[in-house]
């Protein structure tokens, strides 16, 4: 029996199918990301699990218990909201203690667990502050501490890092993963950011127009996307002409292409533009195979200037063909 099971879950708003026939099994301790563009139904799915949106059809079972239509305040889930939704009139410690107070945990035990949770997110020194006196990253961690302190069976994260700047977001991704592994709570995160989904989750659920289009490990989603849409959504991709007249379209990721001196590769190409990304160079090339994007590690060797003719090469094992009609 799976820990959490979504069984043909649907939410229809009139003729609009916000979530359509979503089925998913989650094992205990797993970190699952719902990934997709805005409007794909990932947030609605999360809200149905949380109990804020009532499902039109289908079942939600948590630890074997049917919670499809249970009120939100009886589910006991830990939720980190996109806006963090901290209680602005309460101190950090009171915010974290709120859930325990509702569970009627006694005062001494409450204080101990609040302290523990704040230590876990490195905010023990800020217990007496009010949310508006904290930075974005600190608020995010208060929201996380508030959600895990009640030891929920399931942790729901709604775009938890989207309000943070890029550097902080990366740091928090690792912290989120570390904390989740420490407490071992089964976690479902909603995100539109593939890097975020890849770096923290055990499995990624890709959603598109209310439906699940792929469930796989991050590596598999990147290397073997189920459709061209997914391929382009989770990274950059180059289209190669079919090997035979009626063969399937072939794809290759920019970092799998190598640049060699002109004439020594499979096809010559002209550098149109180049972008310096720090650890990498990003090239836009024009070749007889069509426009190509290539990412090369910045290994200290001089970069190719625009106008230079180079040769494209690749390992055939890195070529991908996509299932027919998978757009």
């Amino acid at each position: 029996m799976p820990f959490l099971e979504l069984d043909a879950l649907s939410k229809h708003y009139g003729p609009v199918k916000a979530v359509d026939d979503v089925s998913l099994s989650v094992e205990q301790g797993e970190f699952i990301s719902l990934l997709g563009p805005s409007g794909c139904g990932k947030t609605t799915t999360l809200q149905m699990i949380a109990g804020f949106v009532d499902a039109t059809a289908g079942r939600i079972r948590l630890q074997g218990r049917d919670i499809t239509h249970a009120p939100a305040n009886t589910r006991g889930l830990g939720i980190v909201f996109q806006s963090y939704a901290l209680f602005p009139h309460m101190t950090v410690a009171d915010n974290v203690a709120f859930g325990l107070e509702m569970q009627k945990v006694d005062r001494a035990e409450r204080a101990r667990r609040v302290e523990q949770a704040l230590a876990l997110v490195h905010l023990d020194a800020h217990a007496g502050r009010y949310p508006r006196e904290l930075s974005g990253g600190q608020r995010q961690r208060v929201a996380l501490a508030r959600a895990i302190v009640i030891r929920p069976p399931l942790l729901l994260l709604d775009e938890p890092l989207s309000n943070l700047d890029a550097k902080l977001r990366e740091a928090m991704q690792f912290e989120l993963r570390t904390i989740q592994q420490q407490v071992g709570t089964t976690t479902i995160m909603v995100t539109h950011d593939q890097a975020e989904a890849f770096s923290v989750s055990d499995r990624v659920v890709v959603m598109q127009s209310g439906r699940i289009t792929q469930i796989d490990t991050p590596y598999e989603v990147y290397e073997h996307p189920a459709s061209e849409f997914i391929s382009r959504f989770v990274g950059k991709t180059n289209l190669l002409p079919p090997a035979t007249a009626n063969g399937p379209q072939r794809h290759i990721r920019p970092e799998k292409l190598t640049l060699k001196p002109a004439g020594q590769g499979r096809s010559d190409a002209t550098v149109v533009d180049r972008f310096f990304l720090g650890s990498q160079w990003l090239y836009h090339l024009e070749s007889p195979l069509g426009p190509m994007v290539v990412v090369q590690v910045n290994d200290g060797s001089p970069a190719h200037a625009p106008g230079t003719v180079v040769a494209l090469d690749w390992d055939d094992a890195t070529l991908r063909t996509l299932p027919e009609g998978s757009r």
Binding site: A50, G51, F52, P71, A72, N73, T74, R75, G76, L77, G78, I79, F81, Q82, S83, A85, L86, F87, P88, H89, F98, G99, M102, Q103, Y130, R132, E133, R146, I150
Partner: protein, 287 residues
């Protein structure tokens, strides 16, 4: 900050000048004239005679008659404010939770008392509550018997609450609009009941709105004139109606001015005290 040498600061001075001028002419001038008048000597045969005296203030403070009027005004103001909070806050909350088309319809209904003249509305109440009015007919039909409702504090408070309710609903509604709806969801997700979520999470956040609504209602109720004048009658005097009587019936202008000044000061003290409390309580938390 207040450096007037920068072009920006200078243009600010020029831009605020019209409103400053208007404010001085229509508010400060009559107020200072009233203040001056309240210190004038009074002669029953000749009216205000100039000079300088504290006698009117002394009379007000020492005479139980005036004390009773001030206490009644305070009591009616407080009860009206309390009832407005009791009715207006849930009303604003329900309004804010309504679905799109109904919300604006009901908001308009809440605001309708403001569209009808106070005098007309008050006459409406006096007909309703009159000894032969519909309310008394209903009472008779129910076997309660005729009750005298006009010219009682109850009638004055009822009409005041009716008129003042929009001034309570609007600031609370504004405070509710600023609330992040996810915050209430968060409270629910941690196992709070709906009532607990409202009491522990929503109410504290809209407290500044409730307090400012309360201040407006109290200020308007304590200085109201038309409603106590028409529904309270001769017997049930409030401060504003007493001022009117002093000016137009007794022709004792300095006394009327002195009562008006005391009412203004009393109102100011109440407002500033409340304001200070709000500042201290909420600035750090809610900004």
């Amino acid at each position: 900050m207040s450096d007037t040498s920068t072009p920006r600061a200078r243009s600010a001075v020029w831009l605020t000048l019209p409103s400053l001028l208007l404010f001085t002419v229509v508010l400060l001038t009559p107020l200072s004239l009233t203040l001056l008048l309240s210190f004038n000597e009074y002669d029953a045969a000749r009216g205000a005679t100039g000079g300088f005296t504290f006698s009117h203030y002394a009379a007000i403070v020492s005479d139980g008659y005036y004390l009773e009027i001030f206490l009644r005004t305070l009591r009616i103001g407080l009860i009206t404010t309390f009832l407005c909070v009791l009715i207006g806050v849930p009303e604003a909350y329900i309004l804010s939770r309504m679905a799109a088309p109904w919300r604006s319809v009901f908001l308009m209904i809440v605001l309708t008392p403001l569209l009808v003249s106070v005098v007309v509305r008050t006459f409406g109440w006096s007909m309703l509550l009159g000894i032969e009015g519909p309310v008394n007919m209903l009472f008779q039909a129910l076997g309660i018997g005729k009750t005298r409702m006009l010219y009682t504090e109850g009638a004055v408070i009822t009409a005041l609450v009716h008129v003042m309710l929009p001034f309570m609903v609007i600031p609370v509604w504004t405070a509710l609009q600023k609330l992040d709806p996810q915050v209430e969801q968060a409270a629910l997700s941690f196992g709070a009941s709906r009532l607990t979520a409202i009491v522990r999470v929503v109410l504290p956040q809209i407290m500044p709105g409730i307090l400012s609504g309360g201040l407006i209602v109290f200020g308007l109720a304590a200085s109201s004139f038309a409603i106590p004048g028409l529904l309270g009658g001769r017997r049930l005097k409030m401060v504003a109606t007493t001022v009117y009587d002093q000016y137009l019936h007794e022709l004792n202008w300095p006394m009327g001015a002195a009562i008006a000044v005391i009412l203004l000061i009393a109102n100011l003290i109440v407002m500033l005290t409340c304001h200070r409390v709000v500042e201290r309580q909420y600035r750090r938390r809610l900004g």
